[in-house]
C-alpha cells in the first residue's frame, strides 16, 4: 500500500511547453485533490474530484486541466506553461467525503518554468 504517489519529483519546463503531472492512489478513495504551493505560501486548491468521471474547479484552476477516468489516477495537465506556474504541486486524497477526513498527501512535484 503506497498511499499517494506522484511523478515526476522535479521538472523544468520552457515557456509554452506542456506536461502532465501524474497522481495515483492505491487506497480506493473517491476523493482526490490537486494543490499548488508557492514559496512561503499555503496550499491553493487547483482542481478536485469526488469520483471517477467527476471533476470540479478549485480556487486557482486557470492554466490547468484534469481528468479522472479511473478511481486510482488523477493527472494534472499544463497546456502552455508560464513562469507563474512555477510551484510545488501536491496531490492529496482523503479516505472519503466525510466531515473529519484527513488528507493523505503525495510527496510533491517541484516544477520550474523558465
Amino acid at each position: 500500500n503506497a498511499g499517494v504517489t506522484q511523478t515526476p519529483k522535479f521538472r523544468i519546463l520552457k515557456i509554452g511547453q506542456s506536461m502532465t503531472l501524474q497522481c495515483t492512489q492505491d487506497m480506493n478513495h473517491n476523493y482526490m485533490y490537486w494543490y499548488r504551493q508557492d514559496p512561503g505560501m499555503g496550499l491553493k486548491l487547483i482542481y478536485y474530484s469526488v469520483g471517477a468521471g467527476i471533476t470540479d474547479k478549485g480556487e486557482v484552476p486557470n492554466g490547468y486541466n484534469v481528468s479522472r477516468s479511473t478511481t486510482e489516477d488523477f493527472p494534472l495537465r499544463l497546456e502552455l506553461a508560464a513562469p507563474s506556474q512555477t510551484s510545488v504541486y501536491f496531490c492529496a486524497s482523503p479516505p472519503g467525503g466525510g466531515p473529519t477526513d484527513t488528507q493523505y498527501f503525495g510527496p510533491g512535484t517541484r516544477l520550474t518554468v523558465l
Binding site: M41, G42, L43, V50, P99, Q103
Partner: protein, 116 residues
C-alpha cells in the same frame, strides 16, 4: 473562499519547551472542521491533529494539543516538550460542512525552529 490566517511566519522554541502556534479563520458556518498539518523539509504533508467544531473538548494527540475558541474563531496548536524532529512548517486548515463542498483551505504557514 474561506480565509485562514496564520499571523506568525516564524517561531522558535528551545528543545523540551512549549510553543503555541496561532491560527484564526473566517466562516459563517457552525459545523466545520479544523486541522493542523506539519510539512518537514521532505515536503510531505503530515496530519498532526484535527478538531470538529461541534466538539467542545479540545483535541489532543500525545504532545500536541489545540485551544479551540469557537466564538473567537481561533484554533491554536500547542506543542509540549518540543523535540528537534518537530522543526517544520506548520499549516492550519479549514474544511466546511459537506454541503458547502469538499475543499480544504490552508493558511500561509508558520516555520518552527527548534533550538538544541
Amino acid at each position: 473562499a474561506q480565509t485562514v490566517t496564520q499571523s506568525q511566519p516564524e517561531m522558535s522554541v528551545q528543545e523540551a519547551e512549549t510553543v503555541t502556534l496561532s491560527c484564526t479563520y473566517d466562516t459563517s458556518e457552525s459545523d466545520y472542521y479544523l486541522f493542523w498539518y506539519k510539512q518537514p523539509p521532505s515536503r510531505q504533508m503530515i496530519l498532526v491533529i484535527r478538531q470538529e467544531a461541534y466538539k467542545q473538548q479540545n483535541a489532543t494527540e500525545n504532545r500536541f494539543s489545540v485551544n479551540f475558541q469557537k466564538a473567537a474563531k481561533s484554533f491554536s496548536l500547542k506543542i509540549s516538550d518540543s523535540q528537534l524532529g518537530d522543526a517544520a512548517m506548520y499549516f492550519c486548515a479549514y474544511k466546511g460542512p459537506p454541503r458547502t463542498g469538499n475543499q480544504f483551505y490552508f493558511g500561509t504557514g508558520t516555520s518552527l525552529t527548534v533550538i538544541p
